[in-house]
Symmetry: C2
């Protein structure tokens, strides 16, 4: 019995966590896992995992659970991770460099094909084997590489015009580290990484706690 509703975005956001946990299990030499066991590792209920997976098919065996490698392969195929995705990164400050250098990026189907900055002192330098270029090169690089995924790590004031340029050049999904909400057309996916906002939401609870 297949159910093929459009999976909600919350489900899509959890799939990468399932995939990662399965990768760890595979590394540990575990071959089979139940929704219960997987759930305990990532603090999600067993029912939720089964429900989430049911949007995409039937991957388990009653009485047994899931074959770790098979389920991982299924999820990676669902997420489009059987191919490697070219990514451009705009803003090569401390943070941008840390991202470009991060191994977890390269090892997980993400391939940085362009680094861009406005600082003339940075242009021409290499980070992780990729040369830093001027913004003027962005459209060409994006088109030539067919890149649809971009990371913005420029100061807040520059983020909107940078996003506009990227979208103009063909980018369809943006991960934005700048502390600002981008205005973008409907066909572009935008997600934010906002550590300060996250910390500020935790200070709410700390401020209310009994101080020890």
């Amino acid at each position: 019995m297949e159910r093929l509703d459009d999976p909600p975005d919350v489900v899509i956001r959890r799939l990468p966590l399932y995939a990662r946990s399965l990768r760890y299990l595979l590394d540990e030499g575990v071959h089979s896992v139940s929704s219960q066991e997987l759930g305990e590792r990532i603090n999600v209920t067993a029912a939720q995992i089964r429900k989430d997976l049911s949007y995409f098919g039937e991957f388990g065996k009653q009485g047994i659970g899931y074959d770790v490698e098979k389920l991982l392969n299924h999820i990676e195929r669902i997420l489009g991770l059987t191919q490697s995705w070219p990514v451009v990164l705009v803003g090569v400050g401390h943070l941008g460099q840390a991202i470009a250098r991060y191994d977890g990026f390269h090892s997980q189907g993400l391939r940085i094909v362009g680094l861009f900055d406005t600082d003339p002192a940075k242009i021409g330098q290499e980070v992780s084997g990729v040369q830093i270029s001027d913004y003027a090169e962005m459209p060409r690089v994006i088109r030539e590489t067919g890149t649809r995924l971009a990371i913005i790590s420029v100061p807040a004031a520059d983020a909107q015009p940078v996003a506009d340029m990227l979208i103009d050049a063909g980018v369809r999904a943006i991960l934005c580290y700048a502390p600002i909400i981008l205005q973008t057309p409907d066909h572009v996916w935008v997600r934010y990484i906002d550590p300060v906002a996250v910390l500020h939401s935790m200070t709410y609870y700390l401020a209310r706690e009994h101080v020890v």
Copy 2:
């Protein structure tokens, strides 16, 4: 008429975004804003903003809207941002250094009081005016400064033991950059920053799009 239900966590997570938007408005010299206008800036409905704020009191005027400075002050008080929060950071690699150096941290009520690493080559060095210390110093620094907030930017394999040490020493809230779900007691707040997972959730949609 006051309603004093416990505000849901989703609401608490949005408050920092409202606060930030109000700070930008204040900088722009805007004195008054409606829920409609504020909502357009951050892609949230006007009704949601009014509902969210209603958990904490009545801050607007019918027919007028909200006084930007007053509302900002209210939200900062709610979030506990009238005080500065000491934070320790564990793992001073490229990412940890970028975080420690980030101005948006210091300017927003977050004060790094300790940097920790295991690398003997790093211990003793300074980043942003704070010395890097060995893990052995963690409990002392956390206790002496009364720190309850920590950032983990160590490799995945080290994150759980680091979290255990931090919690033992009195930390109550953790922002974790390591790609692993931490197992922690109920009284500790944990949030994750996981760019690879976020990008992987976007490749899902890109893989399904008509390629241009």
